[in-house]
């Protein structure tokens, strides 16, 4: 199945893109997508313990299972305000 990965701030800089369409196995979890991503971009591993995620623009646990067409966002530590 195909999902859309959204990356922000330094994650976006590291990947060189804010949106990365990605093919993943059926039923893949958010964490599996993250692991694939950090495999491709080892620099992202510094966020291993601080990363949060959202699926379809709502907060998600890392162990949530994905469906075809989902938008998965990885959120490095935030600094709004």
């Amino acid at each position: 199945m195909r999902i859309n990965v959204r990356l922000f701030a330094r994650l976006r800089d590291i990947a060189g893109a804010g949106e990365v369409p990605t093919d993943v196995p059926d039923g893949a979890t958010v964490r599996a997508v993250w692991d694939t991503l950090t495999g491709e971009f080892p620099e992202m591993r510094v966020y291993q313990d601080s990363i949060s995620a959202a699926v379809n623009a709502d907060y998600s646990r890392m162990d949530a299972a994905l469906a075809d067409g989902d938008e998965v966002a990885f959120l490095p530590p935030v600094s709004g305000g």
């Binding site: 701030a9 990363i51 709004g80 305000g81």
Partner: protein
Amino acid sequence: MPIPSYAVTTEALDLDALVRTVSAEAAAGPIGPGAVITFVGVVRNENAGRRVLRLEYEGYEPLAVRAFERIGEEVGRRWPCRLAVHHRLGTLQIGDASVIIAVASPHRADAFAACRYVIERIKQIAPIWKHEFFEGGDVWIEGASADANDEGARDAAYRLAVGGSAAPAVPAG
């Protein structure tokens, strides 16, 4: 013209409009507003000893609005008030307002606490990032891990809001 209670925008922020909105909403209740508190976050010329030149704010817009709604729900379980939050994205100069919050409540203690809670929670969970350009370089500012379900963070925000006391249990939701 009615404005949304929660918004992210690249336009300049309008504090008066937010104050009018929460005041009108609060006035529709059985006990009208007695206090309106606002918070304006301003781009400061200094950060951690660096001379800041400008900030570029990036955000995940739909989740940012959802974060403000969520914070509004948390506030509503603790303090009787009406709330509005607008956050700006894009390039901001020194002195520009980056976020504005308005809270209207019958009583000032609730309004102060709710307003402080909102800005603390925004800094904890809103998916917004500052890219700081300073004299000599640039850096992504990274603060809190954006876990909206972290109860420790929520309690810390509550303690700052009410000043030192522990957070009492509230209904989950």
